[in-house]
Amino acid sequence: MELIVDLHTHSHFSRATSKEATIEGLYKWGKIKGIDVIGTGDFTHPGWFAEIRDKLEPAEPGLFSLKAELAKEIDTQLPTKISSRQIRFILTVEISNIYSKNDKIRKLHHLIIAPSFAAVSQINSKLDRIGNLKSDGRPILGLDSKELLKIVLDSDKDNFFIPAHIWTPWFSLFGSKSGFNSIREAFEELSSEIKAIETGLSSDPYMNWRVKELENITIISNSDAHSPQKLGREATLLNCQLNYLDIINGMKTNDKRIVGTIEFFPQEGKYHYDGHKNCSVCFAPLETKKHQGICPVCHKPLTIGVDYRVDELSYLPPGYIPKKHKKVEYIIPLIEIIAEIKNVGTSSNKVQSVYDNLIATFGSEFEILRGLSLDKLTKLGYQDIAFGLEKMRHSEVLIEPGYDGVFGKIKIFDKNKRQEISGQKSLF
């Protein structure tokens, strides 16, 4: 069966997260978004781990479901189109490793996935002596990534370890600020245990394909959601059985079980291009090179973005596409499409009510974004949404790349062409 999987999330026990990031919140929004398997996140946090154990029960091997009485309560509040969807949880956590190696400070984030509460307990008791697990759902450890990998592998053979959002400058495996230049440099003799990487919001498979070292490595995508509304910003598509091992083994082998990924336009990420937020300088890699990496305003080194960094580490030209590759689907969150049409913010009531109506009428957000027939939409008076989806599905969008912490902008409507659309009669 086709599964949409989002492994990387956070609970309310992580810093800078929404209060709604509860198990129930993840469950509810999983249904609205149309995700089949959701990572619990934060399993090293004693409070969250207790909550997980309290509210979840084992379902298929290695997967968990929300206890029936809790599920029922939420289901009754949801539109019938989505209320009967099946949600499964999988045990995950993100760890922040901060340490020095080869005379440089390293800050890497990693995603760990475990098959059982017992495996989680094992990992937790080992990490407890190294760091401070109780104060952040995404704990900071003064531990070499390789040592963390070792602990994960030693704790249970079915545990899985994935370097997270590998291109963000400050906190990742290949990050320009405090990452490494290769998997080998970071993991040495254990490099072969790195079988998958996470693209993060600021990279897509096209960018990753250019790097030789990633040739045989599975590319996966997750939302890294800090609030449940952000679930499924990115996700991985699988065609496999609904159980832990089939999902994980798919990711370990990159075989046909992996269908592909659902992606953010990477330009929307906060670190796509190079630049300085405070100086309003945003450069494409070529311009950065022209300026020798120095900001023309403050004369300090620019924050190098992902695009530049990919170029630095890759041996294949931009735009390279391997002969055999997995599917890549770009999406724009539905709420943003509506907001753009309405020309108001995403949190406005107008936008919210259209969103709710769409979900109630057509089903989950992924169903709408990915598969819904545009005719159907147009027939029910949503021709501007249909127009937007068509543009999105064909990647015919206007792009303003993000840089130095500033989100990029992806627009469907050209200002000049806007008239053309809004001139048409709209029913909503």
């Binding site: 810093r15 800078a16 922040s96 901060i98 340490y99 020095s100 005379d103 440089k104 400070i105 800050k107 008791s125 080992k126 990490l127 407890d128 002596r129 190294i130 760091g131 401070n132 109780k134 104060s135 952040d136 704990p139 900071i140 450890l141 003064g142 531990l143 602990i151 030693d154 400050w170 906190f171 600020k177 405090s178 912490g405």
Partner: protein, 596 residues
């Protein structure tokens, strides 16, 4: 060859000492001047160049940590030779070894046993620590004016020890002193054996120990003393920096040599700490480093400042704070030093809030938990199956508490633990666990923590040895985990002998530094304690002075005037303005509310 490298990698002062260390030589060595190195090269020189037999050399230290470190260094140096190690031991274990030759086998009371006995005889009326201090001061001749009641308690305590054939650490020294005075043949034997006596950390010697040293030296006069009078901080145990003057009187021919190059700290820090005792150490390092006095609001903002500083140095631990970091830095590069443990609360709380990993030194450690200690003792017995090590298992608080197992039974149980060399170290621990404990122990958080912490010792064969070394080191250093990459929180007393890239001294205010109600003599010791704290810093030193603490207005430290000047940058906590604004706002709101 290692030896030659070792002997040549010395500065001119150190070289001079190495070669001209005969006679009575007193080396005053400031912090970071390479004390252990100088001492080790002197021993190497005696062994290699002077062909002195190892058995003619006696080296005494004050901590097990120092003795172990020196042995390790010498082992490495002498690796390719056939020369054995000379006697290197702590004062107490030296005394213990000598006393073994007289009468019944002595058993040293464990910390746990001592506590139990003190509790028993004082009926919980006196704090254990207080009584212990009194006891040791009395035994070392520091306190003579005990009232009748206390004297009675001390006698009871001694009787209790005698009954169980036990001695405490102070008894070892007292007994040795007595024997050396009474048994002249024995004394002569010692005098004839040890031609060279070297003493490390001489400032920690108390009078009784010094008398013993003088007796053993006799007329030999090869007495090599190294230490720093300015770092004498164990007055409560009878150590006194005046001992350096005493030796001048007792040995008028003695030479005094200074080690003045500090290899640890950068210029500003060395220059600043020089002011404390008006001395003139020089930093060997090129860079300036920095020493700052930060004025802040209270204990919370103090913790906040330290927290921000660390976050800045590591370049932020989350995206909100991400910035350029220093090139190579780890959590273990930071230490927060305070005068009393009570100050630790807010400092730790703040680190908890930001999720940074830290360890508190000198606090209770899981390794002191009776079950865990028991496992460690068995592991050590496997590593080194001596009778002594077995005896310690028998004496352990776990066995004592849980109804005495018959020794035979205990031995049988230990023998039944599977020990194939192919099993992993953690399996070995599990095997021990299965034989002695119920399954319930798995749920104990301390036990879980312990099992997590031993994972670093994977392979059975060298894992066991490595673990035993690690455990030994932990025990000898107040359970400071040198393998953990964490921020260290510790008191000034436990900071001695350690060094960190960045040091924060919290609570630089009168009443804490110096500690309240100290008399003149004690005040001198407070100053030395302060000096020890300052000189732990390698690159950055930050003194924090709060306006209020525990809601009370503070007075600046009386030590402040000593260090003010060019080497100390005074700064306001940059967050102060913000905090004050916020406070004013809240106050305004409150007053507005009360108008209605």
């Amino acid at each position: 060859m290692i030896i030659m490298e070792y002997l040549t990698a010395l500065n001119s002062q150190q070289k001079k000492i190495m070669k001209n260390g005969s006679g009575v030589v007193v080396i005053k060595a400031g912090p970071g001047t390479g004390k252990t190195k100088t001492l080790t090269s002197r021993i190497t020189y005696l062994l290699i160049e002077k062909n002195i037999q190892p058995e003619n050399i006696l080296t005494l230290t004050f901590t097990k940590r120092a003795a172990t470190e020196m042995k390790d260094r010498l082992k490495k140096i002498l690796k390719d030779t056939k020369i054995g190690l000379p006697t290197i031991s702590t004062f107490h274990s030296f005394a213990y070894d000598l006393l073994q030759q007289f009468g019944p086998v002595l058993k040293i009371i464990s910390e746990h046993q001592q506590k139990e006995i003190i509790k028993k005889i004082t009926g919980h009326n006196v704090p254990v620590r207080k009584f212990y201090l009194l006891l040791t001061q009395y035994k070392n001749g520091l306190k003579t004016d005990l009232n009748q009641e206390t004297r009675g308690l001390v006698e009871q305590y001694n009787l209790e020890l005698q009954k169980n054939n036990l001695v405490d650490f102070d008894d070892l020294i007292v007994k040795l002193f007595k024997i050396l005075n009474d048994d002249l043949t024995f004394l002569e034997q010692l005098q004839n054996r040890y031609h060279y006596i070297l003493v490390d950390e001489f400032q920690d010697t108390n009078d009784l120990q010094y008398q013993i040293l003088k007796l053993i030296i006799g007329n030999q006069n090869n007495f090599f003393i190294i230490g720093d009078p300015n770092q004498s901080i164990y007055g409560f145990r009878g150590a006194n920096p005046k001992i350096f003057n005493q030796i001048k009187k007792d040995f008028p021919e003695s030479k005094e040599i200074f080690l003045t190059t500090n290899y640890r700290s950068r210029k500003q820090i060395v220059n600043l700490s020089n002011k404390i005792f008006n001395i003139n150490l020089q930093s060997s390092l090129d860079s300036d480093g920095e020493a700052k006095l930060i004025k802040t609001l209270n204990e919370y903002s103090e913790a906040g400042w330290i927290n921000r500083f660390i976050n800045n140095k590591i370049g932020g631990s989350d995206l909100i704070a991400a910035n350029e970091s220093e090139k190579s830095i780890s959590f273990s590069d930071f230490a927060i030093i305070f005068r009393t443990h009570r100050q630790a609360k807010y400092l730790a709380q703040k680190l908890d809030e930001s999720g940074l990993p830290y360890q508190m030194v000198g606090q209770w450690s899981i390794y002191q938990e009776s079950k865990i200690e028991f496992i460690c003792l068995i592991l050590r017995y496997f590593n080194d199956s001596t009778e002594d090590n077995f005896q310690e298992i028998v004496d352990s608080s776990f066995i004592q508490r849980n109804g005495r197992l018959m020794i035979e039974e205990l031995k049988q149980k230990i023998d039944s633990i599977p020990l194939q060399p192919t099993i992993s170290f953690s399996t070995l621990v599990e095997n021990i666990q299965q034989i002695f404990f119920s399954k319930e122990v798995e749920k104990d958080p301390n036990f879980k923590y312990f099992k997590g912490s031993i994972l670093q010792f994977t392979k059975y064969a060298d894992g066991l040895k490595k673990f035993c070394d690690y455990w030994e080191k932990l025990k000898n250093s107040d359970y400071f985990d040198f393998l953990g990459d964490k921020i260290t929180l510790l008191t000034m007393h436990s900071a001695k002998g350690l060094e960190f890239k960045y040091v924060f001294i919290a609570g630089f205010e009168e009443g804490l530094i110096p500690y309240k109600n100290k008399k003149q003599g004690e005040l001198d010791e407070e100053l030395r304690l302060f000096y020890v704290a300052l000189t732990r810093a390698k690159a950055g030193l930050y003194l924090l002075e709060a306006e209020t603490r525990n809601r009370n207005k503070t007075t600046p430290s009386s030590f402040k005037k000593i260090i003010l000047g060019d080497n100390l940058i005074e700064e306001q906590d940059e967050a102060l303005e913000k905090i004050l604004k916020k406070k004013a706002k809240i106050k305004l709101k409150k007053s507005q509310m009360s108008m209605f």
